[in-house]
Each structure stands twice: as structure tokens, then as C-alpha cells.
Symmetry: C2
């Protein structure tokens, strides 16, 4: 229940976020360092995220499977960059069944290695390809400084792992998934993203290409909201994933991996939330509409509840995720604040006068205050609410897109870039050298986010060194 | 692909099972001792199991959430029986992020402790009760001798954890879940089960009452296929889960926990499978019907594929989980065996003569050979197949029930009990003493399975010691 007041976003965005996540019942701190508890309200949100993604993956020929949570430590040593990247983050199991283990095991931080090992057993011929497997679950990466959903030691995700007969097919897969991620962000999370390859220094350990979707939070920092990697034959060589091709020659498979994690929930909070609390996009909200019946005495209660029950049943039948708030120990005003705080898109208020007039009052979460309050007939309410949910979904995306675009600038020169990334994103030509990227990071704390696809091929000059450059990149400070 | 022959069940049931699980692509051995890989075909079966259970839990007011995979070792020491039961099975994380941990963590073998800890923070008042949370995921219990699905170190499950204001409500919850488990077994898995409380010695560590559903496998051994526990206040005292009741007095909550695991897949294999391979109950089968088009040349292919595509589309539209087997590198005979081996309930064969006559040949998996082969019109095929799937579902349950009942006997005396449990189950009065139970186990290796609910209250005498007894129990050798 949301009785305590949050700091405003402008006062302290970080503290606003931390308090909001816990007080809105999305998640809680656990007694295990760095690990969170995802509470039922947060998990229902995650289930809506996963249901859509799982459906899209299945439509595109992917299947789910499960690989062990524990992976032999030695597996990580087979791919050089991979072990360097993950060694500092491993949780190591040294004892099992009361005895010290001969071979140490780690709680998986990601599963390329064990899945690669199995793929080497399963893949024999080009007929076994492509192999398109997704695993849903959690992984663990030891983190010192954590923040609920955004950076926790254990987090929840899917990890797709695919093997292909050619580089072309693998790269096509990487982008097919990136497109699904973009559609998810736009259509479900109402978060505009840029998609494209990341710089060499920002690649996943072991990847030849890492692509990402990148979103702007309210504080104008960037969040990498999903990644899709092309490994070439790095992992198939490390784990000997070979197949007989159509010419009957042994060949290494080309592999990919990709993920969206529970961090997406952090993005939803930080993009849409306001000083009153969460604002959840209707397509993902666990509760899309809440009914608050209002009455002062038993006589009123009878009439109001009759109408409220009817409305509840109409909306439920129409497939709207609806909740009746019939708590008798808190006031209506408390309930209004509570559901506003928890980000429910539409609040349906029904009092004695609404019953008389055959109307209800609706409060729309995306427009706090009087502007978002409308009075509509009870008749055909389900279609009214469905339409409003669509409107809110669209308006959240529009607002987030406008906000983002208003805060991205193309710098005239390097000094201008420094000013821009202090409070926004810069979009600029970059020569793709590690040196220039490192200089920006040192001078401004901003990093390259990604090189968006579908840029017009133009000649420009690197914003840092002035050398010729053909592609622009986003620079931003990041989570 | 199922080219190699299995031993028959009569020749070597254990080996039949081990080979079938792997060759039918349900699961594979992993490089991590005791842990399995659940392959896409097996995971699709598990998803069908979980979807139904998740739906039933939600209908009865339960919500999902996620708690950390790692639990402080010290938590297990707070409940005496719990730590004794689980200590020998723990996998212990001693290092994280490159350093030795101050507090050792274990990979969860079950989550009563960490969930109890969180409940103590969340539950303040009777208004917070009942709290009905389910977690889906995997747990790890170190096992030396493993068998895919039946006993693996890591296994997949849901674990329900509920807290209530009174013992009555908690016990009611325990039985409500047991009823859901029974309905799942009967209606989805087509496996008849007995439900009821287990003996004191067979209780879950820390439980006051453990109830189970018990099924008979083809080899007449028993399998505990699901459990539902009542803890009284054991865990709420260990973790200080207290609430202010309606009289404004602090009181310990009454808790339950319950689970069905991926072991259920083992039961499905061992109850329904035959010497030709898997037999999957239609309501759970990942593929309910498979189409095998048959042709010798391109001209035939055109006509056959046109009909096959139409049938595919009709069946898919009707919601049947349908697959087209259009492989061009194996013979039709190979395909027949392959899908039979993988337990697909209905095979739809379409050849040139079928196209001419407007018919298809159907092979029903529950009746191998000519008996299960029928010829039906293409017109209205979706409703024909739907009806047959229902028939197969019912016939599997009927057959399993008859088999089970034919192999349960009521012993005249203790010598008779010994004979019976050598190749079946005994149903007999038992005085509920540990001594008599232990004697049966020592003499026969059979254990008490459960004391089925809804027995007529009759006076009898313990089959072991002859003392008065009012309830009968099942004795059986078990997995």
C-alpha cells in the first residue's frame, strides 16, 4: 500500500526508483546479497512480457528446452574472451552431498558453454540445422553494486541459442531476433528503441557482432534493453560443433545467442513512471482496469455493488484484466492513490449518482488530475475501456518517443558533444576506433550505445578525431 | 530418430525406460553429474503439464513469484527436521566474484526457508492472509544414483507455499491442492492415483502432515507423483511468521507447501509406454496428430501434398497440435515407426489412393497393429480426429486403472502380504506404528504409500501385529 510519499523524479531519480519498485510491490530485497525477490505483481508483469516473446519465438520456429543450472568451471576456459569476461562474476559450487567436488561447478552466468557442449553431440548433419533453442530461467553474475531489476546478481531472462549452416543464416537470425525485440519494445512496452550493432569494446565476451536495442530513460541515461549476438565459429570451435554439409564435408556451425531480461521491467518503470508512481503500458499491465465502488451506507452499497459487479463481469468477459477493489478497511481516496501508484491504466469509479445516471467515472493513468477524468455510460463500457487502453498504449509510446527525440542532438564539434551528453544523447559520426571511444568515455563518462541500422550512407568525419567516417553512433551515459 | 530397437519391457524394464527417454528425444544426459538436459520434445510436454496446473492454481487464487536460487546455508539450520533431511543433499557455493564468501550459500533444494523469511516480513495482519504463492523453476538435491526424470540432481517443478490464519484453512488448502493434483493425473496424464496422508516416516522433513498421490507403474512399483504438506507452525516459528489476528493478538501463521515435478514425465512414460515406444496421453502430447504424405513420384506428390496441406490446415484451425512430416530423406515406413516410437496419438496417412477416394488412413497409437488402423473420410476430419483423441485419452485412463486394480490385493495375513508386494500392491489394515512399517520394509522392501482418503470407517486388525486398526494403507515397492 502506497501511503508514504516518494521523492519526485527531479529531486532524486535514483531514490524515486528504489522506493517505487519496493512500495509498488514489484520486488523486494532478499537476504541473499545482490539477489532480489520478484513479488507477485512484478512477476505477473514479467509473465505478460514472456508470454508475448515466447509466442513470437515459437512462430519463428524456435523451441524451448532446459539445460543444467550448474556448469563445470572448466567449460568457461574453452573460449578465451568468454572466460575473461565472466570469471570475475562467477558463483562457484565447491561442495556437493557433503563432499568436496573433484570438478568445481559454477551457477550459470549464461549458457553458451553447456549448450555448445550439447550441440556438439546433437548436430551431425546439415539436416540438423538450424537448431533454434530458447531457455527461460535465471542466471547469476556476482555484482557488488545492485539495483532492483536493473542490476542484480540473479536475474530472469530467456537465452536463445541457435546454430546455423552458414554465416549469412546466423546473421539473419541475429537480426530477426533484434526485430522481435524492437517490436516488443514498441508495441508492448511502449518504449522507442534504436537497434544496431555495438562497438567492439561493448561486445558480449566471445561475440563477433553484438547488436542491441537501446532506450532512453527519464533521466536521459541509456539502457541496453536487449542484445542479440553473432559468434561466428568461436563457440563451435571451442566446443567442436561440426556438421556434414551438403557436399559431405565437415564444417563448423555458425552460432548466435540473444536475450531480454527482467531489466526490461526497470526500463518500463524509468521510461513511463511519474511522480505519482508507476505508469504501466496497458498491454503489459497485470491489472488493466480497477473498479472502485463508492458508497456511504448499506443501502447505497447494495445498489452500487450490483452495478459494479455487472461492470466487472462485462469487462472480464471482454478479456480485460480487471480487478474489483472491495476492501472495507481503507477509504476510496486511499484506493485511488494506491492504484495510481501501482500504475493501473484505467480506474473505474462507481458511486450512487453514477448508478442513477447509468454512468461511471474513469480516471486515465497517463493523464493525472482532472484532464484524465471522464464520465461515460455504463452501456458498452467494455468497448469504451478497450479503446481507451489502446489510446493509452499509443500515447505512452508517443510521449516517450517525443521525449527521447527532444533529448538527442547532433553535435557540431567535440565540445558540443561534451555539453550534449551531460544531459542527453549525442548522435555523431565516429571513426569506430577504440581510441576515440575511450577518449569520449574518459572525458564525459558517455559510451557508444549502438550504430543504428538503416542509416543513409553518407560521408562524414569522426566527431572526436576528424577522420573520415561513414556511420553515426549514439553516445550516452548508461545504466 | 528411432532406428535402434528397445529391449521389451518384460526383458528389462529399467533399460527399456533408459533407452526410450533418450531415443525418443525427451531428455539427454548432461556433462554435469546427476543433471539432465530436457530436450525440446520433453520440454514441450512439460509446458503442457505446467500450463494446465498454472491455470488451476490461478483459478483458485494463487499467484506466481520468484525467490532467489541461492539460500544462506544458515537458514536450513532453523528447522531441525528440515536440516537433517536436506543436509546430505546440498550443493554449496563457497566462492563468489573471486572471493571466499563469509556466509555459505546453497543452491535451493526446496524454498520453505527463504520464502518463510520473506513471509515474516510481508505478513503483518490477518488481512494479509491467506498468502498463496507458487514458484516455478528448478531445484537441486545431490543424488548419487540418478535416472532421467525420475531422480536427477536438478529437477523442474512448481513449489506452492501458502500461509493461513488457522490450521483448518491450511489443511483445507493442502487438500484443495491434492484434489487438483488428482484431477491433473486423471484428466490430463490419464494416470489413476490414490490420494491421502503418508505415514510419519514418509513425511517431508518439517511437515506435520504429508499427503501424496500415488500411481502404479507398469512394473507394479509405486511412484509418488505429487505431494502436499501441512507444516502447522513449524516454519512460522522457525522464521517468525506472525500476524495480528482479528482479536488484535499476535499469532503464528499456519503454512503449507506442495509440488509436482518433472518426475511426472517419468510416470507418464512408465504407465502408458509399450514395447513400441512412448504412448503419450492426447491432452499432454506435444504433437497430437502427425501427417505422413505418401507418394512415389512428382505427379503423385503434387496431388498428395495438396490434400495433405488442406488436412493440415483444417486440423490446425481446429486447435489440434498437428505436425506435417515431409522429410524427403527417410521412407514412410521409417516415419511410421518414428512417430509411433515418439508416442504421437494419431497418425494420418495420405497416399494417392486416399486422394482419389477422399479418405485418409488413421493409425491410433493406443492400439498398435491392424486393430488401430481405420479409414475415414477427409470431410470433417478435424472433428473425427478430435473425437478420437478424446477416445484415446479415455482408453488410456481405463486401461491404466484396470491394470492397477488387477494388481492390488487385500492380504489375508502377513505371509500373504509378502507374496502380494513381491509383484503388486497390498491394501491392508495397519496400526500406524513405526515398528510394523519398518518390519514390512525389512522383510519385503515395500513401504507404506499412503492412507487413502474416504475410507469407510471400519474396525480391522493390523496385517503385521494384529492390533486393532481403523484405516487401510497401500504397501508397495517404490521408485
Amino acid at each position: 500500500m502506497a501511503e508514504e510519499k516518494l521523492p519526485t523524479r527531479a529531486e532524486d531519480f535514483s531514490e524515486w526508483y528504489n522506493q517505487l519498485v519496493v512500495k509498488s510491490d514489484l520486488a523486494d530485497y532478499s537476504p541473499v546479497r545482490g539477489c532480489m525477490v520478484v513479488k507477485p505483481y512484478g512477476w505477473a508483469l514479467w509473465e505478460n512480457i514472456t508470454a508475448w516473446l515466447d509466442g513470437e519465438f515459437k512462430k519463428t520456429g524456435h523451441v524451448n528446452a532446459a539445460f543444467p543450472t550448474l556448469i563445470p568451471l572448466s567449460f568457461f576456459e574453452k573460449e578465451k574472451e568468454h572466460v575473461e569476461g565472466f570469471s570475475p562474476q562467477l558463483a562457484v559450487v565447491t561442495h556437493g552431498g557433503g563432499e568436496e567436488l573433484e570438478e568445481k561447478l559454477v551457477v550459470r552466468p549464461t549458457s553458451e558453454t553447456i549448450i555448445g557442449y550439447m550441440y556438439s553431440k546433437w548436430i551431425k548433419s546439415w539436416r540438423d540445422l538450424p537448431l533454434l533453442i530458447v531457455q527461460w530461467g535465471s542466471v547469476l553474475r556476482w555484482e557488488i553494486r545492485t539495483k532492483l531489476f536493473l542490476r542484480t546478481a540473479e536475474f530472469y531472462w530467456h537465452e536463445g541459442h541457435t546454430a546455423h549452416a552458414s554465416a549469412e543464416e546466423a546473421i539473419e537470425e541475429m537480426y530477426r531476433i533484434l526485430d522481435i525485440y524492437e517490436r516488443f519494445s514498441h508495441e508492448l512496452a511502449a518504449i522507442p528503441v534504436f537497434k544496431g550493432p555495438k562497438s567492439e569494446s561493448e561486445r558480449f565476451p566471445g561475440a563477433q557482432v553484438t547488436t542491441s536495442i537501446e532506450a532512453m530513460m527519464w533521466d536521459k541515461r541509456a539502457l541496453q534493453a536487449g542484445t542479440s549476438h553473432y559468434f561466428g565459429t568461436n563457440f563451435s570451435k571451442a566446443f567442436d560443433i561440426q556438421f556434414l554439409n551438403k557436399e559431405n564435408t565437415r564444417q563448423y556451425a555458425e552460432t548466435t545467442s540473444w536475450a531480454i531480461s527482467s531489466r526490461m521491467i526497470g526500463a518500463i518503470i524509468m521510461v513511463h513512471g511519474d511522480d505519482q508512481g508507476l505508469v504501466l503500458p496497458p498491454r503489459l499491465a497485470p491489472i488493466q482496469a480497477v473498479i472502485v465502488p463508492i458508497f456511504k451506507n448499506e443501502a447505497e452499497k447494495g445498489r452500487v455493488m450490483e452495478a459494479a459487479d455487472r461492470v466487472f463481469s462485462d469487462l472480464k468477459t471482454a478479456g480485460i484484466r480487471i480487478k474489483m477493489d472491495d476492501r472495507d478497511n481503507v477509504s476510496s481516496g486511499f484506493k485511488f492513490n494506491d492504484w495510481e501508484f501501482r500504475g493501473v491504466p484505467v480506474r473505474v469509479e462507481i458511486g450512487p449518482r453514477d448508478v442513477e445516471k447509468g454512468t461511471v467515472a474513469l480516471a486515465l493513468r497517463d493523464m493525472p488530475g482532472k484532464e484524465g477524468k471522464i464520465f461515460v455510460p455504463q452501456a458498452d463500457l467494455a468497448s469504451t475501456v478497450s479503446g481507451l487502453l489502446d489510446d493509452i498504449q499509443a500515447s505512452l509510446l508517443k510521449r516517450a518517443t517525443e521525449y527521447r527525440d527532444a533529448n538527442i542532438h547532433e553535435p557540431k564539434d567535440y565540445e558540443d558533444l561534451k555539453r550534449i551528453v551531460a544531459d542527453g544523447w549525442a548522435f555523431a559520426y565516429w571513426c569506430e576506433s577504440l581510441e576515440c571511444e575511450a577518449r569520449v568515455k574518459e572525458d564525459t563518462k558517455a559510451t557508444t550505445r549502438n550504430i543504428p541500422v538503416n542509416q543513409p550512407e553518407m560521408e562524414g568525419t569522426c566527431i572526436v578525431c576528424g577522420r573520415p567516417s561513414r556511420r553515426k553512433v549514439y553516445f550516452a551515459r548508461t545504466y
